[in-house]
């Protein structure tokens, strides 16, 4: 077995067998306000260095586009910052926010109720060193959708806390995540 275990930009590389493990998957059978992965420190903290979440998502937000957000440790204060580099289908733009109550890991790239039927947004999110308590935790993601609404974005985010990440919560802004959306979390050894 040959592995290229980490990073959506990686074009080549390798690693030892068993460096990239599926930890948990949630596939929604009914609409839900959020999806969470918890008890991460005690369950995975000693075995893995990085985490990756691979998502395929649709929301019930009215309109064509939606936003996917993420929080750590149930912290909903102004502890987050993020940047988005966006391709809108007609131009390239960037946005940035500080002192936010969550991180944006998919910017306008989650289909809403008016988007093409059966279209889902794809999101690949890397969480770097989530179990290190000596530095703030950083996140990067690549997200996109091609439907009646088109958007692609490369995102970076910061959890302005040195606390190790024990719980991850993912939600769509002002809407539910709809049935058939899927979230899988992977551990990457260091």
């Amino acid at each position: 077995m040959s592995l290229i275990p980490f990073g959506f930009w990686a074009a080549s590389g390798g690693g030892a067998a068993g460096s990239y493990d599926l930890l948990e998957t949630t596939t929604l059978t009914v609409d839900a306000a959020s999806v969470s992965f918890d008890n991460l420190i005690s369950t995975y903290g000693s075995d893995y260095k990085h985490l990756q979440i691979r998502s395929i998502v649709r929301s019930d937000r009215p309109g064509s586009d939606g936003y996917l957000q993420m929080r750590f440790n149930l912290v909903a204060s102004t502890s987050y910052a993020y940047h988005n580099l966006n391709g809108t289908g007609s131009n390239v733009s960037s946005t940035a926010q500080t002192s936010q109550d969550s991180m944006r890991i998919a910017n306008a790239s989650i289909p809403g109720t008016a988007a093409t039927s059966n279209a889902f947004g794809a999101v690949v999110t890397d969480i770097l060193d989530p179990f290190l308590a000596s530095k703030n935790t950083t996140v990067r993601s690549l997200a996109g959708v091609a439907s009646s609404w088109n958007y692609i974005n490369l995102n970076s985010a910061l959890f302005n806390s040195t606390a190790a990440v024990d719980e991850i919560t993912i939600f769509a802004v002002g809407s539910d995540l709809v049935s058939a959306s899927r979230f899988s979390i992977y551990g990457i050894k260091g």
Binding site: M1, S2, L3, I4, P5, F8, W9, A10, A11, S12, A17, G18, Y20, D21, L22, L23, T25, T27, Y44, D47, R54, S55, I56, R58, L85, N86, G87, T88, G89, S90, N91, V92, S109, T116, N118, A119, F120, G121, A122, V124, L142, A143, G144, V145, A146, S147, N150, Y151, I152, L154, A180, R182, S184, Y186, G187
Partner: protein, 161 residues
């Protein structure tokens, strides 16, 4: 219980030039597919594109953003017959790479979403979100669009869900 994944399903290294590369008989036991390409065009310039399940109908949609040394471009395409990996094309003798990630490729309840990153060593970087407008499971992937030179590699991985 953690499950080791990211398994190599197929590996090709071209020993002679080829006008296309097809990876068939893809089993449906994984959640996502990741296809890593490192390709070298033969003259004339290569403009590789992707189709799945031998479908050349107008069922492909994509949006891209690209940086070309000081110029940024975004465009969207609807009802196309394929998805370009790099719309700028690759010049003869250059080396380019692409990573194609297909989510829930074996599902039958959603269209197939793709995230593609492409790098042309002397030219540009591009990210693309694509959709194949079908709920059919993907069982084959074909890359076409010119001539792939000796040394081109295509490695397909399966990621469990």
């Amino acid at each position: 219980m953690p499950t080791p994944t990211y398994e190599l399903l197929h590996s090709t290294t071209l020993a002679s030039p080829a006008s296309s590369i097809t990876i068939g008989s893809i089993e449906g036991t994984y959640g996502d597919l990741i296809l890593e390409l490192s390709y070298i065009p033969d003259a004339p310039a290569l403009k590789p594109y992707l189709t799945v399940n031998s479908d050349t109908g107008a069922n492909y949609n994509y949006v891209l953003m690209r940086g070309v040394g000081g110029t940024e471009v975004s465009a969207s395409r609807s009802n196309e017959n394929y998805i370009f990996l790099n719309e700028n094309g690759i010049g003869s003798g250059e080396i380019a790479t692409s990573k194609i990630q297909i989510s829930d490729y074996s599902s039958t309840d959603k269209h197939k979403s793709m995230l593609i990153t492409a790098f042309r060593v002397s030219g540009n970087v591009q990210a693309t979100a694509g959709r194949w407008a079908s709920t059919a499971a993907i069982t084959s992937i074909t890359l076409t669009g010119g001539s792939f030179e000796i040394g081109t590699t295509a490695n397909l991985y399966g990621v469990s869900k």
